[in-house]
C-alpha cells in the first residue's frame, strides 16, 4: 500500500495538470483541428455549440478528451472522414457529426478509430453518414449511447452504423442505429459485448458477425431490418434476451445463422418475422427458453446441421413451426410448448401424452418444391396436413417432440 500511494499521488499530479482548451466559432481557437494541435496529452477540448465545417480532423498519439457542449455540429460537407483517431486513452463525447460522403473506393466514416486502446465514444449523434463509427485494430473501448442514422437506399451505396474490424474487448451498448446498411458489424473481432442497442430499419442486417468468435449480444432490439441479425462463420456466440420483431419481407429473417458452431440462444423473443431463425450448417447450438410468436416460419433448418437442441421454447401462432431439410443428425426438439399441439394430458403432469410433430406435410413439400407455396391456405393443403398429422407418411418420423408442454413456458 505504501508503495502505491506515491504512484497515485504522481498520477493525481499529472492528471490535474491537464488543461482545458475551449473551441467556439467566435473564439480565438475556432477550428477543432487547431485545438487538437494546441492541446497536450491528457487535455480536454471543450467544443461549444455551433457549426464547424471541417473534415479530416486527426488526433494522432494524443490522449485527448473531446467534449461537445449542446451538440456542436461537425459538418464534413461530404468530403472524406470527419474525425480520425489513433491514440490511447481518449474520449469523444457529445458531438454531432453530419454529412459524410459516399464513396466506392474508401470507407469514409464520421468517426474512424484505428489502432487505439482504452477509449470511450459516448453520446454522439451521427446523421446522414456513410460509415458511422469505424473501428479497426483497436481494443478495450466503449461505444455507448450514440444515435446513428442515415438514409440508406441501396446496399452498394451505403455503409454500416458501427463497424468493427479486427478488434477485441469492445463494449457496444445503448446505441440507436437506424437506416444504414448494417446497424452493427463485426469482422474478425473477439470478446466484444453488444448490449441494449436498438437497430431499426436497416437495409441489410441489424447486427452482423463475420468470422467473429467469442462475442455476445444481449438485450438488444432488432426491429424491421432486412434481417435482424446475421451470424456467419463464427464460434462461441452468446445470444440472450434479444427482441427480434417485424423483420418482414420476401427475403427477410429474424436471425440468420450460417456456419455457426457452439452457440447459445436463450430468452430471445421472435415476433412477426417472415422467417424467425434460418439455420444453415450450424453445429452444437442450444436454443433454450425462446419465444416464437406470429412468424411465417419459426425455425427453418437447412442442410448440414448437427446437434441443434431446442428445449423449453414456446412456439405460438406461427404459420409454420419448423421447416426441415435433411436427416435428423442428432438435432432435437424436446419439452417445448407448441400452440398447435392438439394432444391431451391425462396424467396432468403438464406434458402432453402424444408426441408432437412440428413439421407439417406442407412445409416438407414446400422445401422440396418451393413453387408449391402458391397453394398456401388452400383447402386441399388443410386436408393434407390434417391427414398427415393423423398418420405421418412423408414427414421425418423421428422428428418429434416427445414431451410437448401443455402450457406456455415461463421465464
Amino acid at each position: 500500500m505504501k508503495k502505491i500511494i506515491p504512484v497515485l499521488l504522481m498520477l493525481f499530479y499529472f492528471t490535474t495538470r491537464a488543461q482545458v482548451v475551449e473551441v467556439c466559432p467566435t473564439c480565438e481557437v475556432s477550428s477543432i483541428q487547431k485545438a487538437i494541435d494546441l492541446a497536450d496529452n491528457g487535455d480536454t477540448i471543450k467544443i461549444a455549440k455551433g457549426t464547424y465545417r471541417e473534415q479530416e480532423i486527426k488526433i494522432i498519439d494524443k490522449s485527448l478528451h473531446l467534449l461537445g457542449e449542446g451538440y456542436p455540429v461537425i459538418d464534413a460537407q461530404f468530403k472524406g472522414t470527419a474525425l480520425t483517431v489513433r491514440a490511447e486513452n481518449f474520449s469523444l463525447e457529445g458531438l454531432k457529426i453530419i454529412n459524410i460522403g459516399t464513396s466506392h473506393t474508401s470507407d469514409h466514416a464520421a468517426i474512424l478509430v484505428s489502432g487505439s486502446k482504452n477509449f470511450r465514444i459516448e453520446n454522439n449523434r451521427l446523421e446522414n453518414i456513410f460509415f458511422g463509427i469505424l473501428v479497426e485494430k483497436s481494443s478495450h473501448g466503449v461505444i455507448s449511447r450514440n444515435q446513428i442514422s442515415s438514409k440508406a437506399v441501396s446496399q452498394a451505396k451505403s455503409g454500416n452504423g458501427i463497424h468493427m474490424w479486427n478488434c477485441s474487448d469492445l463494449t457496444v451498448s445503448n446505441n440507436i442505429v437506424k437506416s444504414v446498411r448494417d446497424g452493427i458489424y463485426l469482422e474478425f473481432s473477439k470478446n466484444c459485448t453488444i448490449t441494449n442497442n436498438l437497430c431499426e430499419g436497416n437495409l441489410r442486417y441489424g447486427l452482423h458477425f463475420m468470422f467473429a468468435d467469442n462475442n455476445k449480444y444481449l438485450d438488444n432490439t432488432f426491429d424491421n431490418n432486412g434481417a435482424g441479425v446475421a451470424v456467419m462463420y463464427s464460434k462461441f456466440i452468446e445470444m440472450q434476451r434479444n427482441l427480434f420483431r417485424k423483420n418482414w419481407g420476401p427475403a427477410s429473417y429474424g436471425l440468420l445463422l450460417k456456419e455457426i458452431n457452439d452457440a447459445e440462444l436463450k430468452n430471445n423473443i421472435f415476433e412477426d418475422n417472415t422467417i424467425a431463425i434460418s439455420a444453415d450448417n450450424t453445429n452444437r447450438i442450444n436454443y433454450i427458453n425462446n419465444e416464437f410468436r406470429g412468424n411465417g416460419y419459426a425455425v427453418r433448418i437447412r442442410g448440414a446441421c448437427y446437434k441443434n437442441v431446442f428445449t423449453a421454447n414456446s412456439f405460438i401462432a406461427n404459420s409454420f413451426d419448423v421447416s426441415y431439410t435433411g436427416n435428423i443428425n442428432e438435432n432435437e426438439f424436446s419439452r417445448n410448448y407448441w400452440s398447435e399441439y392438439t394432444g391431451y394430458d391425462l396424467d396432468k403432469d403438464g406434458i402432453g401424452d402424444v408426441p408432437y410433430r412440428p413439421v407439417k406435410l406442407f412445409s416438407y413439400l414446400v422445401n422440396r418444391t418451393p413453387e408449391a407455396i402458391i397453394l398456401l391456405r388452400s383447402m386441399f393443403i388443410g386436408l393434407l396436413d390434417f391427414s398427415e398429422k393423423v398418420s405421418p407418411v412423408f414427414t421425418p418420423a423421428e422428428l418429434t417432440d416427445d414431451y410437448p408442454q401443455m402450457k406456455k413456458i415461463k421465464w
Binding site: P250, E371, I373, I374, L375, F380
Partner: protein, 260 residues
Amino acid sequence: MFKILKYSFFDLTRSSWSYVYFFFYLLLGSVLLFLNNDLSTAIITLMNVIIMIVPLIGTIFGVMYYYNSREFTQLLLAQPVRRSSIFLGQYFGVAISLSLSLILGLGIPFAAYGLFKSSAIWDFSMLLVTGLFLTLIFSALAFNIALSHENKIKGFGYAILLWLFLAVIYDGIFLLSLVYFQDYPLDKFSLAASMFNPIDLSRILILLKLDISALLSYTGAVFKQFFGTPVGTLASLGMLFLWVILPLFRLKRVVGKKDF
C-alpha cells in the same frame, strides 16, 4: 328479361334461405371483427370462408332454384317470351340476390367497424370482388348442370362434384404435378395453372394483398410481378369474367335448342 329477373329476385328475397345466408355472413363478419383484434387475421379467415362457402352456396342454390322453379319456367315457356331472357333472368335473379346477401352481410359489420377510414379497405374490396365473381361463376355453372340433367339427384351430384373438383381436387392435381415436375422451372406453370381455376385465382389475389404474401417468397414475387402490373390485374379479372361469360353462352345456346 328484367321483368323475369325482378320476379325471381323478389321471389328469392321472400325466401328464408336468402335471410339465413345474409345473417350467416352478418354473424361471421361481426364475430370475426369484434372478437378479434387483428384485422389481417380476420380477413384471412374471411378469405378461407369466401373461397369455400361462396362457391358451395352458389352451386347448391343455383341447382336448387332451377329445379324448384321448373313449373314456373314451363309456364313462362308457354308465353311469347324469349327463351334466353327467361333463363338469364332467372339466373341473374339468383346471382344478384346471393351477391346482395354476401355484400350486405359482410359490408355492414365492416362498415360498423370503421373500415372505410382504414387502409385495409383495399384488401376488403378485393375480398368482396372475388366473392361476387365466385357467386356469379358458380351459379352460372350450376344452372348449366341443372339444365343438362333432368334427373335432380344426378344434377345435384354433378354440381357438388364440380365444386369439389375446383375447390379441392384441382389443387391436389396441381400439387402432384408440381412435385412430379420439380426438376423443371415451374413458376410460369403455376401461374398458368392458378389462372385456370377461379377459386385458386381468387385465393391468390386476396393473399397478395395481405402481409402473409411475404411467405410466398420468390414464387410470390413472380406472382406479384404479374398481378401487380395493370396487364396482370386485367388478365386475372378478365379470366374471372370469362368464367362468368362462357357458362352463360353455353346456357343461352342450350336453351335455344332444348326440347322442354
